[in-house]
């Protein structure tokens, strides 16, 4: 590795003439990304990497090199939305009994609600209720939000402007998904039309629970531009 000028804190000295220095070579950038990803338990965004690395670096390219380097190794470089992390290879899980954390037991309602949010996102509470045919119990959404697996998305541009829910990077990380597009069976479900939000012909008795407590006119007023 090259020598660098360090200041008293060990940080490289940046000079006014930043542009005089080329960005570090790609091999060096790869080392930097490696060090940062190894040190963090949480996924690190490209933006964060860029902020930490010296001027002119290309973390996107560096992380791609790193990912190739770790293919087939005991740990892997995984992508989670626009963030990256290092995780152990799943086939070695049996070595990790010591580290295994007791996964929080989720109710059936919570798991189904989670799946619906993941596959139908962005999805409103009323839509969740339509799909499950039962009102979303108090605390189910709360629990999933507390676990940081779902969060609020954009409001739906329909009367009442209901809030929507989407899944988070923490959810992707937990289930080892690069993005919500990689959900198992997503394409098949979409092709089968099962992710559609078909309005019932006439009025159906089910799934109407959530509608009553949203006052369209109040909400519309609320968000008038």
């Amino acid at each position: 590795m090259e020598d660098q000028l360090m200041d008293s804190h060990g940080a490289p000295i940046r000079e006014e003439s930043d542009t005089l220095f080329d960005a570090p070579p790609m091999a060096e950038q790869e080392r930097m990304v490696e060090a940062v990803l190894f040190a963090s338990t949480e996924p690190v965004t490209l933006r964060d990497l860029e902020g930490r690395m010296p001027h002119g670096c290309n973390p996107r390219e560096a992380v791609e090199h790193l990912r190739k380097r770790y293919e087939g190794r005991g740990v892997r470089v995984v992508r989670l939305g626009d963030a990256w992390a290092i995780r152990t290879a799943p086939d070695l899980g049996f070595l990790m009994q010591k580290e295994t954390t007791e996964l929080r037991k989720l109710s059936r309602a919570a798991i189904e609600t989670l799946a619906i949010v993941a596959y139908h996102q962005p999805v409103t509470r009323t839509e969740i209720e339509e799909i499950r045919g039962v009102s979303v119990s108090r605390g189910t959404i709360d629990q999933l939000m507390e676990m940081d697996w779902i969060r609020l998305g954009r409001r739906r541009m329909t009367p009442g402007r209901p809030v929507t829910f989407v899944v988070t990077p923490v959810f992707l990380d937990h289930f080892g998904l690069e993005s919500a597009r990689d959900l198992p069976g997503l394409k098949e479900l979409r092709a089968a039309g099962l992710l559609e939000n078909r309005p019932p012909p006439g009025a159906l008795p089910m799934g109407q629970g959530g509608d009553g407590d949203e006052e369209p006119e109040e909400q519309a007023e609320l968000f008038e531009e």
């Binding site: 804190h9 152990t88 990790m96 799946a115 499950r132 045919g133 039962v134 609020l152 959900l183 089968a192």
Partner: protein, 264 residues
């Protein structure tokens, strides 16, 4: 309802009846009518797309009837669904009425089948999701987060839940105030009486009743009305007690008040 009992015994095999009874014992385990319908549909042992909604409606209605016989309380949702399925059944069985508005029985049945298939798809999806390799069970993050203590900055954090709960806390605080506290536009007669007893000592001559209104109660029409009414009522009370007298030169003219104590 009498119509449904026709089906309850005649159309069901012993096996189905036993299954239905098992379901009833288990009624708390269902998450709503759609879940129950999905469970019932398994007895048909066919692809959900080929399911007979008519048979399913009959099974459901049989189930609800049995629950009634066994005096099991069914939640309103289940009864609403029962009524709807009875309606659907009649639409499917009777020849279509050209006069009748709205969707046909087949359309309604197709939508119900779609809903069941969609719910089943989400059940399967959640099972597949849970069967995936999971963080903290099958694969792991860095065990020992490295901290190179060089710069120590304090960052304050809060998450969305904190924010929303804080707001909810503030906004619901008011729900618990005693009712009277919110009537800030009401000047009670007790208050008026207190005020007038106090002021009466300082005013010897005839004075407009309106001038007794407290400060800040003149401009807002709601407040003014309340204060005028209570002040007038209070003045009547004072007259009755023999402490003051009232006069009015003509209808709708200003009412004037004078202390009697001053004269005597």
């Amino acid at each position: 309802m009498a119509e449904q009992t026709l089906f309850s015994e005649a159309d069901t095999t012993v096996e189905e009846r036993l299954a239905a009874e098992a379901l009833i014992v288990d009624v708390d385990g269902f998450e709503g009518p759609l879940d129950l319908l999905l469970t019932l549909s398994r007895t048909q042992k066919v692809d959900l797309r080929k399911i007979s909604v008519l048979d399913l409606a009959k099974q459901y209605l049989t189930f609800v009837n049995k629950a009634k016989e066994l005096r099991i309380e069914l939640a309103a949702d289940y009864l609403v669904m029962a009524a709807w399925l009875a309606f659907l059944k009649s639409r499917l069985l009777l020849p279509p009425d050209p006069e009748e508005e709205g969707p046909s029985g087949e359309e309604l049945a197709a939508h119900l089948a779609f809903q069941l298939e969609r719910l089943q798809a989400m059940r399967d999806a959640s099972a597949r999701l849970l069967a995936r390799d999971r963080l903290g069970r099958d694969f792991f993050s860095r065990g020992e987060e490295e901290s190179v203590a060089r710069i120590k900055t304090v960052t304050y954090t809060a998450n969305l839940l904190d924010l929303m709960q804080a707001y909810a806390r503030i906004r619901t605080k008011e729900d618990f105030r005693p009712f009277v506290m919110d009537r800030d536009s009401v000047f009670t007669m007790e208050e008026a009486l207190d005020r007038m007893r106090h002021l009466l000592g300082f005013t010897g001559d005839w004075t407009d009743l309106i001038s007794y209104l407290p400060d800040g109660w003149h401009s807002d029409p709601v407040k003014r009305r309340s204060a005028t009414a209570s002040t007038f009522a209070a003045s009547l009370q004072l007259v009755k007690e023999g402490k003051a007298e009232l006069r009015q030169s003509e209808s709708f003219a200003p009412i004037q008040l004078r202390s009697l104590n001053e004269d005597t």
